[in-house]
Symmetry: C2
Subunit: 456 residues, 2 copies
């Protein structure tokens, strides 16, 4: 067998031509989205008022295993894909571990993350439908940047509601979006009813993802020729992100490598869901077995400490209800939490897989995450995003376990992106001013107690 | 012939194993560095007081055409090389030009630029010599970041003097360097004699590259076990950067493509020199012909408006004298100049080639540079560094000329890096607040009149 290179690049014609829909192989399907008024499953017609019709179809489709990727999306993919699968030789050597470590690196594009994979898909279907533009929210800014890039490429309008504290603390992210022609509004804003209501009640609020979602949805629904798009949580997003796992698997297959453990950070679940999809498919069909680990921040522990229940996807309660592991739609991580992974719930697909015992979850504290990030940066040369560093933390922990036991496990993790726009958090770490915070059960009680009545 | 892909990646074993030293094929060699005291050519012994011995040898070697790249450097290269050669299909389509446009993209690494190619080489030789660490200066911050990364990898100390205005305006660059363990000091500082002198004379100065060089050299010379390293201008740096051109040429050769025009931005000349080296070698040996265009800012026009003369490399006049196209060592670009390319002189190698009529030069104004940058970002998906965008501007201009004439020229340009840490400049552009400034002959007179007497 040929020596495995540091970086495995597939060729352009090996970029997947179809997305893989893991729901098709799930025995227990994810619970359907519910209309918050009727509490009945959302119909295609209802969903099409918010999402593009084709995306609404994808959202509801839990039986078709493979869905063709349109040529125009594949052309766009060629500008930044295939993404490299990297063998972490230097990290292995530094850890002195018998484990073999691989990571799928999705940060080699201007959005700085995997988010672009779904942004181009969602923008494409909006364009196909003849729409004028799309609306969305962004927190840390990766999704907003990705969507701005996709819209600039296709000539679509892009309206982004950016969580106010990020808008102010991350002016550079904002400027990247503006450079791509997006219209960026700090949220909550006075441009929407829900924004005005929240501002009236909490004039000093610095915003939240849930609130920005409400504003983006309201704007889409009320504007002629606009639809709303979302960068995570939804089943359609996991479908688009399956390109990550499909490429990773193709690269590993080339060298006859089978991972034992697959690790990904999880906020809403888009990266983890995309990375594990094809591997999980094999597990669901009984063709192979893998250990899957979702890594979440100890300060926003939806899988490890949340409840599996129907909940609102947004603060304003204008979105459909989703059944998911959730901390309650009013939950906001403590102010000392850096980076993304701050959503109160988890993708319905991943929630169901987790509830079925098909994957595990682990929560980690942020100082240990940044320690792993710094080590990784110095050894592997890539300055990782705080989100991605959650996966690095657990990959290093697992590799060190192998060192103790002598097991030669193969570890694959998702390196979702770069941290170039997160240097305020790195500065806090460099200055020794970063702290940890684990919410008490009491802290979590209010959010869990306020879950909608449908769960009773 | 197979369709040329969007991105051509060489395989790992195609990464060059030798650097190419263009001086070996030059009939008129670049003029030697002079000792500012004796005005005689610097000896190996003299140079070895400032630089590592092996690098001093490379600096003086104008006859050996190929120099082996040590294995440890090639291992490091594997973490971020080969860099892709990109066919700009989308840009060609947008411009509706018959020209074929390629760019060599060097920004896919955390330093964000090609600077890492020489940083690892210089750090490697310092380590080999058993040194404790290295000192350097940085302006826009790409070089300092690259050196920090290389030193972290090799376990070397890294002291960076960062031009004070950048230190304050680019805190994120500073934090990247600190994350890699570098010691970053704003320049001028009170840690050196030359810094104290400049501060006494100009207490409100925001610093300059020439001043930071003086401080870094002084610290290296006065500290046991340290040497000074420099990211551009020097012939050794062009040697290391030849990896850019060698890879680009290998990728083009694979598809039987021969460029007509090769374009690069030029500050000190490291990127341009590296990109054109192997092509220039063919031209010098009479094997092929190419048109080479150096692009510089209208606000710092060393090639187009400077004088070819011996000059100091630094403000403090502690460095050897170099013969180069220069605006005078006291020249500082006007405050409205964004980004790098602000050095007063140009690589001696490139200066000689330019003086011999083997390449041309063009200066461009920054608003037109940012217009090109924005267009490129939206169409090709990569947000370019302001420096790199100088080359984009001229590549677009040449492609549009082809549209007029109907010529199907093949254009290759160097995309040296990304602009993620330059969003303050982009913001000025987005807000319509960017302006141009072309120095008058009167503005340039003081610097040119103050050139050292040796030229008389």
């Amino acid at each position: 067998m040929e020596k495995i290179p540091y970086k495995i690049y597939l060729s352009e014609n090996e970029i997947p031509k179809q997305w893989y829909n893991v729901r098709a192989d799930m025995k227990n399907k994810p619970a359907p989205l519910l209309n918050p008024g009727t509490q009945k499953p959302m119909t295609l017609e209802e969903l099409s008022g918010v999402f593009c019709t084709e995306l609404a179809k994808q959202e509801l489709d839990d039986t078709t295993p493979y869905i063709d990727i349109p040529q125009e999306i594949r052309d766009f993919y060629k500008m930044y894909r295939p993404a490299p699968l990297v063998r972490a030789y230097c990290l292995e050597k530094e850890l002195d571990t018998p484990a073999k470590i691989y990571y799928k690196f999705e940060g080699n594009n201007t959005s700085g993350s995997h988010k672009l994979n779904s942004a181009i898909a969602q923008a494409y279907y909006a364009k196909e439908q003849g729409l004028k533009g799309v609306t969305t929210e962004t927190g840390a800014g990766q999704w907003g940047t990705a969507l701005s890039m996709a819209c600039a490429y296709l000539g679509l309008d892009c309206k982004v509601y950016m969580v106010k504290c990020s808008y102010e603390q991350k002016p550079f992210r904002r400027e990247v979006m503006r450079t791509y022609g997006a219209d960026v509004t700090p949220s909550p804003s006075s441009t929407t009813e829900v924004g005005r209501k929240i501002l009236a009640e909490h004039p000093d609020t610095t915003g939240s993802l849930g609130c920005a979602i409400s504003e983006a949805v309201e704007t889409a629904v009320k504007s002629e020729g606009y639809r709303y798009v979302l960068g995570s949580v939804l089943s359609q997003v996991l479908l688009h992100q399956s390109v990550i796992g499909l490429e990773a698997k193709a690269a590993l297959d080339k060298y006859g490598v089978k991972p034992d453990i697959i690790i990904g950070c999880a906020g809403g679940g888009s990266n983890l869901g995309g990375l594990i999809s094809p591997f999980m498919g094999e597990k669901l069909r009984g063709e192979a077995d893998y250990e899957f680990i979702a890594v979440e921040p100890a300060s926003c522990p939806s899988l490890t400490r949340g409840r599996y229940a129907y909940d609102f996807c947004d603060t304003g309660m204008v979105c459909p209800l989703a059944k998911m592991y959730t901390l309650g739609s009013s939950f906001i991580p403590s102010a000392n939490h850096a980076g993304g992974l701050r959503y109160h719930g988890m993708s319905s697909v991943l929630s169901q897989l987790y509830d079925d015992g098909l994957m595990s979850a682990r929560s980690v504290e942020q100082t240990s995450v940044f320690e792993a990030a710094e080590k990784f940066a110095r050894i592997e040369g890539i300055l990782p995003a705080p989100e991605s560093s959650h996966a690095i933390r657990v990959a290093i922990d697992e590799a060190l376990k192998c060192k103790e036991t002598g097991e030669e496990k193969t570890i694959l993790f998702g390196l979702t992106g770069t941290g170039y726009f997160d240097m305020v958090a790195y500065q806090r770490f460099n200055d020794g001013e970063m702290s940890d915070y684990i919410p008490t059960d009491e802290d979590l009680k209010a959010g869990l107690d306020a879950l909608p009545k449908i769960n009773a």
